[in-house]
């Protein structure tokens, strides 16, 4: 695919949860395993943050700010462990699970 990759931006909380589950599987490199989409860590976090903006009103400012902060932390963790060998990527995945809980409106994560 030589066209510019213009990813779909999630429009609902359910679609954001799908995005997060997808990131769990492709972390820490976020390369598309089927080789169809030229995904990178940049494109994946762009989609996540744009999706959070879309649902901002629905989840409220507090949860939105919490999710953005978690997204920043998880990106740093994945970048620090691109080979998935030193445990930081797993910590990033744990943050993904926590963000799923926040989006679902469950009690704040540990």
């Amino acid at each position: 695919m030589s066209r510019a990759y213009d990813p779909y931006i999630p429009e609902t909380i359910g679609e954001l949860l799908d995005q997060l589950a997808s990131m769990t599987g492709s972390a820490p490199t976020f390369v598309d395993s089927l080789g169809i989409f030229p995904r990178t860590i940049d494109s994946e976090f762009f989609v996540l943050k744009e999706g959070l903006k879309v649902v901002r009103k629905k989840i409220g400012e507090e949860r939105y700010a919490q999710c953005v902060e978690m997204a920043n932390r998880m990106r740093a963790l994945f970048e620090a462990d691109p080979e998935d060998t030193n445990g930081q990527s797993q910590a990033g995945r744990e943050l993904i699970f926590d963000m799923e809980d926040v989006l679902r409106g469950k009690p704040p994560p540990r």
């Binding site: 030589s2 779909y8 949860l17 799908d18 589950a21 599987g25 989409f37």
Partner: protein
């Protein structure tokens, strides 16, 4: 050809003679039915090939290629009515040739004692002047309807399950032994088809792929472009249904493989059970990729569009609030990805069919790793 004899050994001679009379109207002395005088009774059936007894459409009409048999009429015409047996068969004696044939007239009556059965040739049989080179070109161009993926669906009763063709991805996907030449030809055919539908279509390529995977990806991409063009320009959904099924199958297979690995390494979020975690991962991953695919194909999945991904499908006849969530729907075909086998007995499947969109087919897409008949279609009840 029906042969009798073994089954009537226990009957008396009188009884056999009477049975013969009832069957043929012919009186024969009882001695004719003595075992010593018994011969195999041969009965002509124009719908059986006299060479091997197989069913044919001998007297014309729709004929199955390679199965039916009839006299070689075209050859009879070309040779003035005299049958020319195939090479290697002994020539017919003049006494064996029916009078009608000798005069160049074929009355079409089968005469077992006079006729050389080897002169019969399969209907539509044409001797080939040279061996055909095997080509996998056809298999590289995917059909544009779901029919070849679910053979037998059209004749299935409502509510029944129709399994996908065993290896539908291989059969209709780009051939494994694709060569550069064939891939180029198939690509050109697909590009021609797309530009006929969408004159503004432009095939972007960084160069012809050098690997088999690259060539397959190029062909798959062109198939998707063709489906997108049909949908955008003509609102024709069938090619898109085919491409969606093929994409989802490959996506689900890959997600299953990844999910099992993640589960094994403790990298999945297990809430209720490992199986639930795996199923949730496969669903979410595949849905996300499907949305990206439609975005790439410039196909809208907004509410109200014929193409939907994981949106509520209401059944307003029953209850305004009752809804189901198929993973995807394109027109009258709904898709559901799952690990467990679902049938019409499941309220979820019934709910899909009862939704206002009234799908005619629900395709259950399961990972190929789960074994044969992993993916199948359920036909809407009552059709």
């Amino acid at each position: 050809m029906v042969q009798c004899g073994a089954g009537i050994e226990l009957k008396s001679l009188a009884r056999r003679a009477f049975a013969h009379y009832l069957r043929t109207g012919q009186y024969l002395p009882e001695s004719a039915f003595a075992p010593a005088n018994m011969r195999a009774e041969v009965k002509f059936n124009p719908y059986h090939d006299p060479r091997d007894g197989r069913f044919t459409f001998a007297t014309g009409g729709g004929s199955a290629v390679g199965v039916a048999a009839r006299p070689e009429r075209r050859r009879s015409i070309q040779t003035g009515g005299v049958r020319v047996p195939p090479v290697g068969t002994p020539p017919l004696r003049s006494a064996d040739v029916p009078k009608s044939q000798a005069t160049g007239f074929d009355d079409g009556v089968f005469r077992p004692r006079r006729f050389d059965a080897s002169a019969l040739r399969p209907v539509q049989f044409e001797a080939e002047s040279r061996p055909r080179a095997r080509s996998n070109f056809d298999s590289m161009i995917r059909p544009m309807t779901l029919q070849p993926d679910f053979p037998g669906f059209a004749g299935a009763v409502g509510g029944s399950i129709v399994n996908a063709a065993d290896d539908f991805l291989e059969v209709t996907g780009p051939a494994r032994d694709a060569t550069m030449e064939l891939t180029k030809n198939a690509s050109n055919v697909l590009i021609d088809q797309i530009t006929k539908i969408d004159p503004l279509y432009r095939f972007d390529s960084l160069g012809f792929p050098q690997t088999i995977d690259g060539m397959n990806n190029q062909l798959n991409g062109l198939h998707r472009d063709r489906a997108a063009a049909f949908y955008r320009m003509r609102r024709e959904m069938r090619p898109l249904q085919v491409e969606t099924l093929h994409y989802l199958q490959s996506r689900v297979d890959k997600a299953y493989e990844e999910g099992v690995g993640l589960l094994r390494e403790g990298k999945l979020n297990v809430r209720l059970s490992p199986n639930e975690a795996l199923g949730t991962y496969i669903d979410a991953r595949s849905r996300r990729d499907l949305r990206d695919l439609y975005r790439w194909m410039q196909i809208s999945i907004e509410r109200g569009e014929p193409v939907q991904v994981n949106r509520r499908h209401y059944d307003t006849r029953e209850n305004d609030r009752a809804f189901r969530l198929p993973d995807a729907r394109i027109g009258k075909v709904a898709f559901d990805m799952t690990l467990t086998r679902k049938t019409m007995a499941d309220s979820q499947i019934k709910g899909f069919f009862n939704a206002d969109a009234e799908p005619e087919m629900v395709i259950i897409v399961r990972p190929r790793q789960l074994g044969p008949n992993h993916t199948y279609a359920i036909k809407t009840p009552g059709r």
